[in-house]
Symmetry: C2
Subunit: 150 residues, 2 copies
DNA sequence: CTAAGTGCAAAGATTTTGCCTCCTA
DNA sequence: TAGGAGGCAAAATCTTTGCACTTAG
């Protein structure tokens, strides 16, 4: 089951209407496979539905976030959204130079998360975690082009 | 040397003028000892200088950020500023229930960061790192009030 | 002195809201 | 069909910018 299908099931289960606009926004997020800001969601959604309205995108993303089907992540000084990974953990490293996103296997953060719980009683939201930084290609421009890996 | 003094030295070294407004904004950030958003900086700065202008705050914070004397951090869905810690990193845990922010000593993420660099060549932005989750008070409401920590 | 910085006001962005119409369930 | 959702436009915010005046160095 794809994340998009999972999201649809969740929305249906919570009694939300599955309007064409909502499905388009889900598809948009799904195709991009990651972090898009509001204007990017709007722009891309309009490719399949030119009348998509700004207010609809805002309302929909807020709804999705409150339903847990999308996650809002801070990318530097920008707020982005992405479909929540139903498997649970799914981490990304996002390069702030080229914008590329790289998957990070679960496990890398486990020790860290366990420490926070143990020492502070603070339970971090590690299920959908994104960290920004600079990828190898952008850090060493001569060794490879800084192309986008989405 | 306090962070504020450090900041002043840096600014002076880079040839920036030390206007009263800039000093007030530094003091404001310094007194609050932490993450304040633009409107909070403005509001508090006006206590010592009622004519402080919005544009000045924006311009000053941008300047300070570009000079490295303040760091912009994403606190949930809010962008905040704080004096850069000259010791280096200093992280936050933000409770998504009560909104409270807790400092996280450097070191907790070092092993994690080193792994990313070593295994993927990805250099994470740990200076600017905030993790959301649920704090002890909110996770165990009976044991303590969910009060706000800055 | 004089270039940098501020204040003010206006322009631009971004995000939210009201209200009426439309459509999903 | 009835209440939720979308469209549209206006409003509320948030942020940036132009320009004349002030001031730190």
């Amino acid at each position: 089951m794809t994340r998009r299908d999972q999201a649809i099931a969740t929305l249906r289960g919570k009694g939300c209407r599955l309007t064409p606009q909502r499905l388009i926004i889900l598809s948009t997020l799904s195709e991009a496979d990651g972090h898009m800001d509001v204007s990017a969601v709007l722009r891309r959604s309009r490719k399949s539905y030119p009348y998509m309205d700004t207010a609809t995108v805002y309302r929909t993303l807020h709804l999705f976030k409150s339903m847990g089907v999308v996650t809002e992540v801070a990318m530097g000084d920008r707020r982005c959204f992405e479909l929540t990974d139903p498997q649970g953990k799914h981490h990304h490293m996002v390069c702030r130079v080229c914008g590329g996103a790289f998957d990070l296997s679960p496990g890398y953060l486990d020790a860290f998360g366990a420490k926070l719980v143990g020492e502070f009683g603070f339970t971090p939201d590690l299920d959908n975690f994104t960290i920004t930084g600079v990828c190898a290609a952008c850090a060493h421009p001569r060794r490879g082009a800084g192309r986008k890996a989405t």
